[in-house]
Symmetry: C2
Subunit: 194 residues, 2 copies
């Protein structure tokens, strides 16, 4: 792990809150054992009433074994009153926008740390335009999902604007959620009614 040790000696391994020594060590470890990178993430959901339901995120598989988050995360979802719900949580489609911002931001912090750029501020707003005539079944020409999603970032750090843009572009190029949303993923649905 020459790279890691060299980095640590030159300017310390923690940058942007990222432990770059561990980051590079993890990359080296996966290079040696690529199967460690096979993960399965999971979300569980229980219907409450109407459009209100509750998701839990707790367990996942990775680095060869079953794992648990340090705590169980619980998220309610609902529709607002204007969409015949009770606003007990965000709508499901809003969670998709949150996921995209979170993924691009986490990647940006990691990449900046690896490239020795210190970030001082990262904010973003994601907007998704949707015509509900699709899901309401009122216009067969209208798709169910978002027609367009736009992400607007404000990024500040100790590098020129061009460099900061490069970091964000690299985060986009390696973002799991960006890939899922722009390229799509096959989804299989199974049902047990026993």
């Amino acid at each position: 792990m020459t790279t890691t040790d060299a980095t640590a000696e030159v300017d310390g391994p923690i940058r942007n809150g990222v432990d770059t020594a561990t980051l590079f060590a993890t990359l080296d470890a996966v290079k040696q054992a690529p199967e460690a990178a096979s993960f399965q993430f999971r979300a569980h959901n229980q219907w409450v009433s109407g459009t209100h339901n509750r998701g839990t995120i707790a367990d996942y598989f990775g680095v060869g074994e079953e794992r648990s988050h340090e705590r169980t995360f619980v998220f309610d979802a609902d529709h607002p009153a204007v969409l015949v719900g009770r606003d007990n949580g965000p709508t499901p489609v809003e969670f998709v926008l949150h996921a995209l911002a979170a993924c691009l931001t986490a990647g940006l912090a990691n990449i900046a740390a690896a490239r020795k750029v210190k970030l001082t501020e990262v904010r973003s707003t994601v907007t998704g335009d949707i015509d509900l005539n699709g899901i309401l079944g009122l216009d067969p020409e209208v798709r169910n999902g978002y027609e367009q999603i736009t992400v607007r970032f404000t990024i500040k750090g100790d590098a020129p604007a061009e460099k900061l843009r490069e970091l964000l572009e690299q985060s986009r190029a390696r973002s799991a959620v960006y890939d899922v949303i722009t390229n799509g993923v096959p989804v299989t649905i199974e049902v047990d009614t026993a």
Copy 2:
């Protein structure tokens, strides 16, 4: 609104916690004014440290005006320690799975109510398989996002199994998140480094 009134008279407008009178009235209203169905949903995000960032969901546009949820929803996202984070929240890709379960479940409850089926239990688990050699940049053959997502539902109610399956199939056919995930959406990214 003959349909609505008839439903109300026959067996009451509330079913599965869904106010079916309001549901049908909303459909009628959008039929009369399709532009009311143009919504923009939004998520805001602020970087905290490393892979830890915090999303807020509060404001949206719909039915012709700016609106706010009844409260601001706040969600932390992070990576677990095994992915060089501190596990302050789910990973961004886990929120995508939660969104899918929530959307299919909300739709199921609405559709069951509209078709006069009383649900007694709806549970689901969504799993997403991902090879992190993609986002780690270690294998150009591997995509960044999920390779496959599977949703497993348990549904119980006062209808035959075949009917319950039909309700879920109709929910899938009208799900915004299912459409986003399976068909993809164009995403534009803008950045301000001032």
